[in-house]
Symmetry: C2
Subunit: 154 residues, 2 copies
């Protein structure tokens, strides 16, 4: 919780806004980011892109990037962060995609890709998270919050 | 949890899909709807429209409906359900907006409006929920799930 509070506090202080696109976390990331009263000054939009069509039609991910990977890759995370930022022209866009459930291909379970974008550039990070489906969903959300915080502190 | 499981089970059985737009619940509704493994067959998109601009630009709510009410009304809920359904042409669209926090106008705290739309019509419901900000967020999410279930059972 302390990273979350620090992130909202810092963004508010800088008058910066954020939009997120999330997939494997299924809404939990947005739920966290709106947990602190007054977060509406900072958090403007969350898109839970839980289908290939949501990624393609709403977040304009090139179809070629979504083939054969269930919509989960470093590149997809990057484009999601870039494109979700553009929807409302927020200062930051962030995203998380990954394999949370037991249906993931061998060795891929718990692998998540996160990205943070501003107007000029996007940064991507890969992480391996242990735990059951819901644990991965929650931990991945916290990991993204830490990642955004780390980037805005530099 | 039993309503949630029944809803996902019934929608899956009918091969029906759903998209949601949520505001005061901040992502918790989407988080619940994706909690059950295999829910991706049913749940396609969640939009956490946490700002007036998200409601206006992404969900095409007429600006006149968003004036003087912080984006919270029966009409806004109705249009959100109708318009979020159209984004991916899912069978159902559902929405929840409301006043969860202590900043709400006198007497309005805990008031939520929910809507469920299919291709032909939209149904709206108002509810008063007791509890602190996070309790209202969680209870409103469960209320919407019960409301959708009630509608598809008729």
């Amino acid at each position: 919780m302390k990273y979350l509070e620090e992130l909202i506090y810092r963004l508010k202080k800088r008058k910066q806004t954020i939009a997120v696109a999330e997939s494997c976390t299924g809404g939990y990331l947005s739920y966290l980011l709106t947990k602190i009263p007054g977060s509406s000054k900072v958090f403007k939009l969350g898109v839970v892109a839980y289908s290939i069509s949501a990624k393609e039609k709403l977040l304009l991910i090139p179809p070629s990037l979504l083939e054969g990977n269930e919509g989960v890759s470093e590149e997809v995370a990057k484009f999601l962060a870039i494109n979700v930022r553009k929807i409302l022209n927020t200062n930051l866009g962030a995203s998380v995609v990954g394999f949370a459930g037991p249906q993931a291909k061998k060795g891929m379970r718990g692998t998540v890709f996160m990205a943070v974008a501003d107007k000029n550039c996007a940064r991507v990070k890969e992480e391996k998270i242990n735990g059951n489906r819901d644990t991965v969903r929650r931990k991945a959300s916290y990991s993204l919050i830490k990642f955004v915080l780390q980037i805005i502190k530099h």
